[in-house]
Structures are given as structure tokens and as C-alpha cells.
Amino acid sequence: MPKVPVQFTLNGEEKAEFVDSGATLLKALRDKIGDHSPKGGCHQGTCGACSVLVDGELKLSCLVLAETCQGASVTTAAGLAENGVLHPLQRAFIDGFAAQCGFCTPGMLMAAKSLLDRVPNPTRDDVVEAISGNICRCTGYEPIIQAVLTAARANSQNAA
């Protein structure tokens, strides 16, 4: 299999790897770099478990060619905690029992982060829309929606 070089920033760290030509970002992250936080659920764009941020935009890493991320800044759920302190979204997910099996959780977190980055004080409808591309088979979504709203409130209190 021919290899191609790809270089990007992952959660603030420079990465340079040779990946199989035609490999998806999901494959590069999981099988090459060893960041297992994005999950491969469907590889069809339908489940959202592989969601990551590329240059701040929510993308499905199963549908992105690793090569097209040359020079980009990639953020995954593994990069959310800072200095051992969980991100407010992660805290709210734990406190609100918003994860059961946890398979959807990294994708949900990234979809939620993408929302809060643009809309710090979202409405419930904003949250429902923001996670509409992410499937959860366990929680029934309600605890996830509540956790995102809780994290948004915690954020805006910190900012005040």
C-alpha cells in the first residue's frame, strides 16, 4: 500500500505520519497516531461517533481524507481536558449520567463543543439541532441535552 506523508496539529501537538494513501482521518487518528477517542460506528456519516473538529469546524473523521488535513488543527475528545481538569462538558456529562455505554460520547462532546464555541448560551432547540447528526442508542438523548445546557450555564457563570 503506497504511503503519503501528513502533518497536522492534534490537540495542540505537532504530528507527522505516513498514512496509507486514501486513509481517512479516523483511521489515521486511531490506527496510526493512537488517539482512540473518535469512534468508528458506521463509516457512513450517519452515527456521528467519529466527530472531531478540523480548524474549529465539526467534521466526520470517517468521511475526511487524512491527506486533506495537511497543516490543519485537529481537536478530538481526548484533547478536551486541560492539565488533568475535565472540560465543563465532560464534567456535566458525568454528573448528569449522559453516558451509558459511552460509544457516542466523544462525538456528542465534540458536536456540543462546536455549538458552545459559537453559541455560548444555546436554547434547548439549538442543542437538539447541534447533536442531530449524532446517534445515541442508550440514553434517550434527554440527559445529553440537559448536560450540554448545564455546561453552557457553568461556562457563562465562569465568564461572568
Binding site: 481517512t24 465539526l58 462546536s114 455549538l115 442531530s132
Partner: protein, 266 residues
Amino acid sequence: MGIALQSFATVAEAERALSASGAQYLGGGTLVLRALNEGDVAVEHLVRVTDAAITDIAIDGGRARIGAGVTMTAVARHTGLEAIASAARAVGGPAIRNMATVGGNLFAAAPYGDFAVALLALDATVETGGADRPIEAFLADRAAGKSSPIVTSVSFALPPPGSFRFRKVSRVKPKGVSVLSIAAVIETAEDGRVLAARIALGCMAPRPMRAKAAEAALAGQPMTEQGVAAAVAAVAEGIDPITDAIASAWYRAEVLPVHLRRLLLE
């Protein structure tokens, strides 16, 4: 065997690379990568264009020109395109909208192509090789299985305020694949009667189609229950809906008039 990605600074160079066997154009990749993940072995090279012009949006003299590489998110957020933002927002979830391009939507087979339905109602033109062609001719070529040169942009007259209507019907809330989608541009005179109507349907054929019988039946009518009745009765003329896991052709045909009526009376 790997898939080679070839990036070109100009459309002309990319066009040449596409003439090789096994080459496919890569837009946002939502359908191309999905097919590769499912084991599409026909593709050997993916060809993309890095020219920034392909992601431009220009609004000038009441016309909009949208580069083929513009994403649904960029359309939905552009202040000059508010009139048609509803159609861009109807495509997929947020991550898909950050990837899905206007150009790719023109090639998406039903049940996809919701934005192309809007472009058809807007009577857009599709630019290939520096020339603008009516979208109807473009879609007819697609229907005939002709391979298309690279689409560089679409353009259309911005619809007068309040004249553009769009509805996507899906079974999964808040977002899901289309049972059907309808876009309409309806211009009315001062007395409320319809001067001109263009109605486009999604999922009623493998690609977006105009509901010309319904358009004709609407002309000169007031937008009332009685006024729209003839158009609603005529909308199924010439349709050949798709059957998929979401809905059968029969179901789609049954609910089409209901949703057209609601769209017209909303």
C-alpha cells in the same frame, strides 16, 4: 491498493486529470468517501481543486453566484443568502453541512439533493467550463447518464422577499433523510394572485424535477384553499417517486399533495 489524492490549483488541470480512468472528482467527500468506505473499487484517484475561487459567494445586482465548493454551512450563514438558508439547513446534521458542498448536491441521487431542489425552483444556472447552463438542461444530462465536466458555480436571481418556500419532510426528528422535499418560488401580484410559480420536487424521481402541471394550475389563482386546489390535484403528474428504506413510491405519491397544500397555504 490505495486511493491517490491529486490536488490541482486550477479547474483546467483537474479536468485533464479526470479524463484518466478510475478518476473521480472530490467535493466535500460526504458521498465519495462513504462509497469508498463501503468498498467502491471503481475509484483509483480522487481529484480536487484548491483554487479559492471555487469557495466564493458573490451577491451582485440581485443575483447570487455560489462557488461549487461552498458548504451548506457557509450558505446558511451568509447574510446575503438568508432567503434560501432554510434549504441549506435542511441538509444533514451540522457536521455534514460543514462538509457537503453545493456542487456535490447537484450530483446527489434521491433521497439526497435537497439543495438542488431549491436551485431548480430558483431556476439557477450551473457553470461548467466557464459557461452557464440552465439547471434543467444540466439535470437532464445527468438523467441521461452523461458524465459532467467540473461544476464551478451556480447562480440565480435572488427571489423577491417572501417568495421562496421550502419544505423537507422526514420521519426522524429533528433531522433525517427526505421522504420528499419541495421548493417553490411564488410571485404574487398586489391583489394576491399568483403571477408566476416555479415548484420543484425532491424524491419524486431519481433527481429533482419541476412540477409543471401544478405551476400552470397555480397561475392567476389566489393563495387560498380553493385557489391552490387545482395545483395540489395536479402535482403528481409525471412523478415517478423512489422507493427506499424511508418510504415506498406509493407512500411518497400519497403524501406529496398534502405537503404541497401545506407549503402553499403556510
